[in-house]
Amino acid sequence: METLIAQILNGLSLGSIYALIALGYTMVYGIIQLINFAHGEILMIGAYVGYFSVAVLGLNIYMALLLSMFVSSLVGVLIERIAYKPLRKSGRLSVLITAIGMSLLLQNGGLIVFGTDFVPFPQVIERIPYRLFGGRFVVTSHQILIFAVSILMMLLLQYIVGYTKIGMAMRAVSYDKEAASLMGINVDNVISFTFVIGSSLGAVAGVLLGLYYQTIHPLMGFMPGLKAFVAAVLGGIGVIPGAMLGGFLLGIIEALVSGYWSTTYKDPVVFVVLIVILIVKPTGLLGKNTSEKV
């Protein structure tokens, strides 16, 4: 019982990171129906900006988070404007291949710029273990920080999407681009804003991932990016609460597999989950059935 709860707590903090990444995927997918493969690399850039602002500029973790959110959203918008926007009218296949090309470009560019070594991520807050229920469960201050920051970001996102004008515009564009533009919504700006939000969440996830694994690397974003996409599909792609649910579920599944079985199986199991959900309920746990328009 103790190990079960310990693994679930561990899974919750990893899962909250996955949820943040998955939100970026799901929002971009919801608005332009594109799997933004480069999202994992946005995360990596965010992690490196976080690293530089703490280790070189000497900022505290919260300033580092803000700076990495800013840089990552800049990169995200640049990618969208340079690579995806010219292809908005062409086939899905071309955009998807471009996204893969972008991901490869940033990965290998990262290897050239940042080097191929794993960089130890500065431990910005002290690692304090808190013992709960007479020492039966241990929660570290890192887990609490990761969890708290993720929840805060999700609440902020819910507020932006649900209660602001730009959020309403985003919902309108994801519902029907043409009608939205007829209503006077600047669709290009709304899409760029979606990339800003998605990339900021990705940057936060990158810094938190650096805290979680304690090292960063130019290829660190790829696997978590893929898994977060699985999380987005699990919860229902395009659905914001679905991405959160999927992220947490996936984090817990991964922690349980590592804890009870073997860490070498945690990556394959994630993809087995994907294939099972695609067979059983392709729209995801919270997704709605929509028929394809001709």
């Binding site: 292809l87 291949i97 090309g101 290998n108 993809f271 294939i275």
Partner: protein, 317 residues
């Protein structure tokens, strides 16, 4: 094709085989680095042409080609090493295994739209790798070592030619045309009574079959295979070849397979910079020529008709 064209083509093919064979085994003109790249050229052509069947002709973005290559490589290696099965049979068995894996993975995922397929096949490649790492019988992460080195220029050439001919014939058959309609408009194709899931799965598992052959050739040339050999990088390489060659061009894929092999050999010292070049190429091609460099055009001997002076009548049309 007319009888004369077939004759010309097959004698050219034979001539190419003969010259390279003599140059490597008899005259000793080709050094070992070049020999390795000649084998790579064959493997890459097989990968490019077979992936083009899935991505270029059927329009399904599959990113798990390296996974099928791994299935073919491991199956054939185990068969020749532990069961003493002859080389050709082992390679075919590996390909058949990859074919069945293609059906298993294709049936659930190909019912869905293309984007899911990309991720699902990508995930499948990772599952294969993850499973291989955990099987002690095939050496776990260390892989299999000491596979008999049987693949040579002749075998590579034979398998490459067979692959290209078979896929070319498939594309020009009724089944191939059904696949092309799926790429062009899936809904319309379904309305025409084409069983789209069936044809998508067929194209996908045929692609897997030939990727399995490429894997078998690889295993029996480099005599050592590891799960890490068949990482995503290899699937992306195949995709780069397909896109550069042209989505829907057999000769384009052949040329791109040769070209990328040549570039890999020439840029071997650049490391990560090589992939930067490829990824920029990929993005630029998608922006300015989304159908790939050759598009769906085929490079044919008629080009020579235009260059060379005309000798006679119109009998060779």
């Amino acid at each position: 094709m007319t009888k004369k064209q077939i004759l010309v083509l097959s004698s050219t093919l034979f001539f190419v085989w003969f010259v390279v064979y003599m140059a490597t085994d008899v005259w000793g003109l080709i050094n070992s680095f070049q020999q390795v790249n000649i084998i790579w050229a064959g493997i890459n052509v097989i990968l490019a042409v077979s992936l083009n069947l899935v991505v270029g002709f059927t329009g399904q973005l599959a990113l798990g080609h390296a996974g099928f290559m791994a299935v073919g490589a491991y199956t054939s290696a185990v068969l020749t090493m532990h069961f003493g099965i002859p080389y050709v049979l082992a390679i075919l068995a590996g390909a058949v295994m990859a074919f069945f894996m293609g059906i298993v993975i294709g049936l659930p995922t190909l019912r869905l739209r293309g984007d899911y397929l990309a991720i699902a096949t990508l995930g499948f490649g990772e599952i294969i790798r993850g499973v291989l790492v955990n099987i002690d019988y095939v050496g776990g992460a260390a892989g299999i070592n000491g596979i008999a080195k049987i693949t040579n220029w002749t075998w590579t050439y034979i398998f490459t030619i067979i692959t290209v001919v078979l896929i070319n014939n498939f594309i020009h058959s009724l089944h191939g045309k059904a696949c092309i309609t799926i790429r062009d408009d899936e809904v319309a194709s379904e309305l025409m009574g084409i069983n789209t899931t069936y044809y998508k799965t067929l194209a996908f598992s045929m692609g897997a079959f030939f990727a399995g052959i490429a894997g078998g050739l690889y295993a029996h040339y480099f005599f050592m295979i590891q799960p890490a050999t068949f990482a995503l990088q290899k699937s992306f390489d195949a995709l780069v070849m397909v896109v550069l060659g042209g989505l829907g061009s057999i000769t384009g894929a052949v040329l791109a397979g040769l070209g990328v092999t040549f570039m890999n050999a020439a840029l071997i010292e650049l490391g990560a910079f090589r992939m930067v070049i490829y990824s920029v190429l990929l993005i630029l091609v998608m922006m300015f020529r989304p159908q790939g460099l050759m598009g769906n055009k085929e490079f044919s001997a008629r080009v020579f008709d235009r260059i060379l002076p005309k000798r006679g009548g119109k009998d060779d049309v």
